[in-house]
Subunit: 363 residues, 2 copies
């Protein structure tokens, strides 16, 4: 799968993990202060603060790290801005995942109970009425609170007024797109209709790509005072990188290592996610195989045999090759865009590494 | 029930309805522009914008109006600030209600389908799998998007930097309290434990009071440059007014007019809301009556007889009188606080009317 490309990214990996450490420390400190305050409402609020820190720290913190990348493409490092702005992105991500897990009924995430899983267990242990729904409701609140913390932290970032308002607009507007794309994801997961390649890429763009790569890169670059032309170029580049990220996510979801991923392989099938694999499998020329595929997607009791069948059919129909070709096309365009950027050579090398990271990551 | 108090509030009513008109026009304009953009994701996003305008316009828009009240206590009218800041409060409120309706499984709100009701019907009509859950999931997204629109609109309000950041902090922090209090509401609705008077008032304070009255009044006053001492006084006053508002809400929920309220009388009982009525009924000295009360609260199939029994027990135990005494105490304190404020006489008269509005409103 894209064997010619660079397979190591030591600089990028070390960089992101250093950012993760800083953002994690910052978040833990801010939220432990907030825990004290929310205690005046109820201990549920206090406990949530700790849960949110743990949950957020379990992620890769790619988004939070990318804020500093975007900033440092155009200026020197500046933790007083990139750490809180990174923390904001990470809290957005946590909030999105918390609500996403309710929609997908995922009781675990990142190898541990999801917030939904936690609150459903909490409700069951206390013998609460309608425990599952009570757990869902508490998780809706938890996700909402994570968003509010994000905006609260944003309010304290030391930025000049016009820039700060522009950044707030950028984040909030992007989240409306993510929300709308999430609605599409819900809709698609609830019917059997085939979806076109174009629609899938559009959905990937708004649900994951722009928000995972373009938003943090652009936010960082904007905070560093990058010119508008560069902002527009980074937005496009980030969007492409994000689509690649999502396509890799789908591959890992079907062929990856459960332990490394922290989620069961095949959950995309059970949740009837309309991935590129789904798209190509729906045009399986063999009617019997296609019918079996249709019956497997969305099945509540997915067996190992079912997953094996799908994997096998992906191989037989050479679907991975088609996807790899798409990936190569997008990667080429992204590489051209990186070259055209008006930032430091070091910055370009870093973005190159980031691009290659996608084709080789295992979680 | 508080017959001694002023029963008319023509100035306030006219004022709030004029604000509602302005905020409604502003929201409709902003969201129709956003509908065009969200269409690029999917028509679900486009349609939601219209739904959000309709839903928000069905409310009283008290919170949005109170922003201008707070502002005009300390400065002349300034629509360029108070209209968008009012719209922000109203979108917060819509988002909260959208998520609240999921938690309470309310398919209608304000005399029309709730967003949950709308999306569940949508899912059923389209024959989507697991229609109720699909409707819930779409509503979670809808509420999230309403929050994001609120913060997006906030970003465009023309305010000086320190003040704008302070206001953003104020709103976001208050919402974290609302979220935590909502968790308590969910928890209490799922068990049979009795709750103390103090705990109930504390919950009312954070779930409704501060956010409905204190937040918009303080936000408006802050935007107008009111001194810190006045801000603190308004916060306390708003919190008391909000507690009165919630207590009245409970009364209307048990004794009000379904048509005017736009929701079925008795829903608080079905949802096992721990209101002041619930608190006093739980110490019913008659064991048999208390047992029947316990069996009625939280009952899925609430009959007219059940509601009649509860109403009757409230009368026999003179619970309304106890609540009225509490209301009178809080009202007295609020009146003293109004007198101590350092704003115009006209402003004080207006706040007096606002206070009296609570004891007489029917929806």
């Amino acid at each position: 799968m894209d064997t010619g490309r660079l397979r190591t990214w030591p600089v990028m990996e070390a960089y992101i993990s250093k950012r993760k450490e800083k953002i994690g420390r910052f978040l833990a400190e801010v939220l432990s202060g907030r825990a004290e305050q929310l205690k005046t409402v109820h201990q549920l609020g206090e406990q949530l603060c700790g849960k949110l820190v743990d949950f957020t720290l379990k992620g890769k913190m790619l988004r939070g790290g990318l804020v500093a990348v975007g900033y440092e493409l155009y200026a020197g490092s500046n933790d007083s801005i990139t750490v809180p702005l990174g923390a904001v992105q990470e809290l957005f991500q946590s909030a999105l995942l918390i609500h996403d897990d309710i929609m997908d009924r995922d009781l675990s995430r990142r190898g541990a109970p999801s917030l939904l899983g936690h609150y459903v267990s909490f409700a069951r242990e206390r013998g609460l009425r309608d425990a599952y729904h009570t757990g869902e409701s508490l998780s809706i609140c938890a996700g909402d609170i994570a968003y509010f913390f994000a905006f609260e932290i944003f309010s304290g970032i030391p930025l000049e007024n016009t820039l700060k308002s522009r950044l707030l607009f950028l984040c909030a507007r992007e989240l409306t797109y993510v929300g709308a794309a999430q609605m599409v994801d819900v809709l698609w997961g609830a019917d059997n209709d085939a979806v076109s390649l174009e629609e899938i890429i559009n959905m990937y763009t708004y649900k994951t790509a722009r928000y995972t790569y373009a938003l943090p890169l652009v936010a960082g670059a904007m905070a560093a005072g990058a010119p508008n032309g560069e902002i527009a170029a980074l937005e496009l580049l980030g969007s492409r990188m994000g689509v690649l990220f999502q396509i890799k996510d789908d591959e890992l979801g079907l062929f990856g290592d459960e332990e490394k991923l922290g989620k069961p392989v095949g959950s995309d099938i059970r949740e009837r996610k309309k991935t590129l694999y789904h798209h190509y499998l729906m045009s399986d020329p063999d009617t019997k195989s296609r019918e079996r595929t249709v019956s497997i997607f969305g099945s509540e009791r997915l067996s190992g045999d079912d997953v094996g069948f799908i994997r096998n059919r992906v191989r037989e129909l050479e679907i991975q090759q088609k996807i790899d070709k798409l990936v190569a096309d997008i990667t080429d365009k992204a590489e051209q865009e990186i070259r055209r950027l008006d930032c430091s050579t070091h910055g370009k090398e870093f973005l190159e590494q980031l691009l290659s990271y996608n084709s080789a990551r295992v979680r």
